[in-house]
């Protein structure tokens, strides 16, 4: 049941500032029902976005979002970059829709998500990288995306702190410039979707861990596996019956999927990131170097956020390593020698579910009523809104949405892989 939404506004901010009154809670802690129309496993950006679009676009509000921890636990680990300058036409169309949704999200969700559309530079250090950038720019332009290749002088103008001299070890020969790219406050997106979904009547059940997915009729153990159908989930807080279970987890996607007897083409790798102490704002765009495996942006507080490519060994362990810090520091200083005195404040890592073709696995599976939204590798944050929207459409209509047709699980048996070489994990 929908409830009256408490709208945020400048007037409310002034009122609360003057009266020091309490703000209402952004979402409730609802009593669990015994049955739901749709159960979404994973209360991160993707799960919450799916729940929100199910309720808003399709009127399906008897929905539960389960999370074994708290909402957005993993969604705050990414480096908050959004862009749509991918390499395959499938990828470009998909991520561009996501950028559109991010553009109007603050108004749609009545919460400032702090979208800073500051532009995105992907540096090229070799002729082959420059060739890939040209390829990407042409694919992008064909689909109406603002994206072009620029020379070192223009790079220097856009980001003066970069060393564009030709005598460095990895000289900057040019860059793919993508003005619509930028950064978004990732926690705010989670909060915005959670609050809006809650207003529409969705139940978000935190600290509710799924122990098993209950199936019948399948050809595997306990009626799981292809040919079967989902009847419910078993959690640490009791059983829930439902005809539709959606796996929106990251890091644990394979473990959850094996509960339904659907093995995935995924290996889980950690991706490490780090943030420096805050300093005066000097970096006006997002800077990425595929060859050096690093991406940098500066937060509103002045900290530099660094991301890298995935760790080469698949593991669920998320501790930081010295190898990462050393390599990162070396590569960043290669680009920006001027920050050699800056200190790292903190480093962390998040789990990335990597697929062989750097593209997600979305939609229906051989088990009726079990859908996946997994394999989000290094591109899950920027895709969150469109993933939720298309998945909600798929669930509501019973038909795979057009935008995600290239990403279905069948592609592995049919040999129709996507090959997204524009992903952050791919070196150029």
């Amino acid at each position: 049941m929908a409830r009256h939404a408490y709208k945020y506004s400048a007037g409310k901010l002034l009122k609360h500032g003057l009266t020091h009154g309490d703000w209402p809670r952004m979402w409730r802690r609802p009593e669990r029902r015994d049955s739901y129309d749709v159960v979404i496993i994973g209360g991160g950006l993707h799960g919450l976005a799916t729940a929100y679009y199910l309720a808003k676009d399709h009127g399906i509000t008897n929905v539960a979002v389960l999370d074994k921890g708290y909402l957005g636990g993993g969604s705050g680990r990414n480096t908050a970059i959004v862009r749509s300058n991918y390499l395959t036409p499938d990828g470009v169309a998909f991520y561009d829709r996501s950028l559109d949704l991010y553009n109007t999200m603050s108004a749609d969700l009545n919460l400032n998500i702090m979208f800073s559309r500051r532009g995105h530079l992907t540096l090229a250090h070799t002729d082959s990288a420059l060739r890939t950038m040209n390829w990407r720019a042409e694919v992008n332009k064909l689909q109406g995306i603002d994206s072009s290749v620029i020379g070192p002088d223009e790079v220097k103008r856009l980001a003066p702190s970069l060393d564009v001299s030709p005598d460095t070890r990895y000289p900057i020969l040019g860059a793919l410039h993508h003005p619509p790219g930028g950064v978004v406050r990732h926690d705010a997106v989670v909060w915005g979707y959670a609050r809006a979904a809650d207003h529409l009547g969705v139940h978000m059940l935190q600290e509710t861990e799924v122990i098993d997915i209950v199936c019948e009729g399948g050809n595997g153990r306990d009626g799981k596996g292809p040919g079967g159908k989902v009847t419910g989930v078993r959690t640490n807080r009791g059983d829930i019956s439902t005809p539709v279970v959606v796996n929106c987890t990251a890091g644990w996607a394979s473990l959850i999927s094996n509960m339904a007897g659907v093995p995935l083409a995924i290996t889980t790798h950690p991706l490490q990131a780090a943030v420096t102490e805050p300093c005066k704002v000097f970096l006006p765009t997002v800077v990425v170097s595929g060859s050096l495996h690093v991406y940098v942006s500066q937060t509103d507080r002045g900290e530099l956020v660094f991301g890298a490519s995935i760790d080469p060994v698949g593991t669920y362990r998320v501790n930081g390593t010295l190898e990462f810090t050393e390599e990162l520091a070396g590569h960043v200083l290669e680009l920006m020698p001027g920050i050699s005195k800056m200190r790292l404040l903190r480093q962390w890592s998040g789990l990335c579910d990597m697929t062989p073709d750097y593209s997600p696995i979305m939609g229906f599976t051989p088990v009726e009523g079990y859908l996946v939204d997994v394999g989000w590798g290094t591109y899950g944050f920027k895709a969150g809104p469109v993933a939720g929207e298309t998945l909600a459409e798929t669930i509501a209509t019973g038909r795979t949405a057009d935008l995600i047709a290239p990403f279905t699980i069948d592609r592995f048996t049919e040999g129709d892989l996507v090959g997204e070489k524009g992903a952050a994990a791919v070196g150029h």
């Binding site: 394979s254 473990l255 995924i266 290996t267 080469p312 060994v313 010295l322 190898e323 048996t413």
Partner: protein
């Protein structure tokens, strides 16, 4: 740092080697069905726990070998040449 015991070169930092992933039995290509072959190529157990995996000692003896590693703790046991 993960220390990988190469059966020929002794303990090495994992950055000196290449991780080739879980060991998956290879079906006979002449008789395998499409689904068996795609299972072999793409599908992985990816468990949180012990796996048997292949490593390539790329900057040492350049041989392949298998070990058992716990994907949650990165603890390693057993090392045998393959």
């Amino acid at each position: 740092m993960i220390v990988v015991p190469c059966p020929y070169c002794g303990p090495r930092n994992s950055v000196d080697l290449r991780n080739c992933g879980e060991v998956v039995p290879r079906p006979d290509p002449s008789t395998a069905s499409l689904s068996e072959w795609s299972t072999y190529l793409y599908l992985r157990e990816n468990p949180a726990g012990w796996i048997t995996e292949t490593w390539y000692c790329r900057s040492g003896c350049r041989r392949y070998f298998t070990i058992e590693r716990n994907t949650v703790t990165n603890e390693i046991r057993d090392s045998e040449a393959s």
